[in-house]
């Protein structure tokens, strides 16, 4: 059974803290994605990676960075958390380009106070 796991379901952090969100997939997928989900806005792509150490900015990369040192792991980093980064963060992976299904993790609900 395919699996995408995220390190935390819920996180509460203070403004200015550095935050790490971890995602691991066990399907040997090339592509991995980070989205944020906000009510009424759907899912917006933050960053994606199509290979180890390769990354591309999505639609809303400001305030975020990513790291992919191993194929199965993709990390999202908030260098200095702000209250407007309070959101649900979803990680996904896929085998290839547009025609392939994306598999999603359960999400991390991050609250920045």
């Amino acid at each position: 059974d395919v699996k995408v796991t995220q390190s935390s379901r819920y996180l509460v952090k203070r403004t200015g803290e550095k935050v790490f969100l971890e995602c691991v997939q066990d399907m040997d997928h090339e592509n991995m994605f980070w989205y944020r989900q906000d009510p009424g806005l759907g899912l917006r792509l933050i960053y994606f990676s199509y290979d180890v150490k390769m990354k591309e900015k999505g639609d809303i990369p400001e305030g975020y960075s990513v790291s992919r040192e191993k194929k199965e792991r993709f990390s999202l980093i908030l260098e200095s958390a702000s209250t407007n980064q309070t959101s649900m963060y979803l990680c996904a992976s896929s085998l290839g380009g547009g025609r392939y299904e994306q598999y999603f993790g359960p999400g991390t609900r991050l609250t920045v106070t």
Binding site: V4, G40, L41, G42, R44, L90, A92, G97, G98, P106
Partner: protein
């Protein structure tokens, strides 16, 4: 740039009634179309997809969607809903095989009442 519109933010319906969730996308150039479902406190999972061929695609739990190129639509339908269908539904579009990106609509919350 490609965009996806889901006009209905919430659709309330009684159990066993039919339902249609609407989805329109902006460009008719070669696209792949998807419907994802998100049950409460879970991530998204694929419900069905259109890649090519027959314009009517079906899921294992009774949903179907029809690709209409002239109207740039991919509406989701079910003839008789169950309480367990209560979830949020997202329409998504990919701009062809070379694109890694999925563009998501804003989602439609289906609320099935007894």
């Amino acid at each position: 740039a490609q965009s996806v519109t889901q006009l209905d933010s919430q659709v309330p319906v009684f159990e066993e009634a039919p339902v249609e969730l609407r989805c329109n996308y902006s460009s008719s150039v070669s696209v792949y179309l998807f419907w994802y479902v998100q049950y409460p406190n879970q991530g998204l999972q694929l419900l069905l997809k259109y890649l090519s061929g027959s314009t009517l695609v079906e899921s294992i739990n009774g949903f179907e969607a029809e690709f209409n190129k002239s109207q740039t639509s991919f509406h989701l339908r079910k003839p008789s809903v169950h309480i367990s269908d209560t979830a949020e539904y997202f329409c998504a579009v990919s701009d062809g095989a070379s694109s890694y990106k999925l563009i998501f609509g804003s989602g439609t919350r289906l609320l099935v009442r007894p």
